[in-house]
Amino acid sequence: MSLLKNKMGNAATAGDATDSMLNPMPDPILDPMPDPMLNPISDPMLGHALTHFRQSVHAWSEAAASRPRKAVRVSVHRSWRLATGWALGCVLAAGSLASGIYEHHHRQVVARLAAQAEAAREQQLAAQRARESDEDLLATVDSDVSRAVPAAMEPLAQLMDGDDNQ
């Protein structure tokens, strides 16, 4: 009820003319149209209702225009922005640090694997080299042994060939 009184008080101080409400004279704004549907003067109740409506809207508008505004604390938004900026900065810093560490670790692993592969290859080569040297030695021994057959045995060998032919 107090709210209503207050509102009505504001409306009264708004200076809107209220004569038409006290004195139901035709409103000039409602007069000029000849169309009975558009001319509410032909219906006094409608005319009064529209007059009240107009005055009500005017009063409300004036009261709304002069109402006290809420002060918004900008610092809240600023602190939020600051916090958001810091959070984003921290995330970026942590991300770049993590990516650096990961890259370093990745390189170490790759280098270790490469070293292992190289060692295995060298080991394989060494084994191959050792095997080849054994084979060479055996071949040398074989050739030496074959050369050591006495020449005196040659004619006998030829005879044996002749027997086989006969």
Partner: protein, 191 residues
């Protein structure tokens, strides 16, 4: 040779200054009407203030292009109507925000009455009538509501309404007739 006074050509800075002063006068003169129209259209004080600000911001940006074919009020009202249309169109797209509207209800809107009524009965009757008109206005189409408010709240002529809405006078009359008919029906009168 006649010794006449030399007329100095107006500099760009001077022209800008004059235009700015003119615009300030236009804002001071028409801001209440624009705000009132938007308030009646939306029943939302914060939204009305925002749209009014946007309206004058847009007008300021285009002030150089205003040729004066219509009155400044009509031009501003046209901008306000377009802003309001854009707002409702965007609102329809963002359907999940419907619940967050700050529009006051009909009871609160109809509590605002000039204190011209002498008796409590007259006050109650006036409030009831205003509420019924609000109810009828709520049921009008967007165009009918705009035309109705421009006519019966802003007290504009049909030609001005036609210019502000971009409709012909005949169309304005037709919308107005339908709107008044609905208000009459809501008030319980004959149709």
């Amino acid at each position: 040779m006649a010794a006449g006074t030399a007329v100095k050509p107006m500099t760009a800075e001077t022209a800008d200054e004059i235009a700015a002063q003119e615009f300030v006068r236009v804002v001071e003169a028409h801001r209440p009407q624009i705000f009132r129209f938007l308030l009646a259209s939306t029943r939302d004080m914060d939204l009305s203030e925002t749209l009014t600000q946007e309206c004058f911001l847009k007008a300021h940006r285009n002030w150089r292009h205003f040729r004066g074919d219509s009155s400044a009020m009509t031009w501003l009202m046209r901008i306000a109507i377009n802003l309001q249309k854009d707002h409702w169109r965007n609102r329809r797209m963002q359907f999940w925000r419907h619940a967050r509207t700050n529009a006051v209800d009909l009871d609160e809107a109809s509590e605002w009455l000039p204190s011209g009524e002498r008796t409590v009965e007259q006050q109650m009757l006036a409030r009831e009538r205003v509420k019924q008109v609000w109810k009828a206005v709520e049921g009008l189409s967007e165009r009918q509501r705009t035309v109705f408010l421009l006519r019966y709240v802003e007290e504009q002529e049909l030609s001005e309404i036609a210019q502000a809405t971009g409709l012909s006078e005949g169309t304005v009359k037709a919308h107005l007739s339908r709107a008044v008919g609905k208000v009459r029906t809501e008030l319980g009168g004959k149709r």
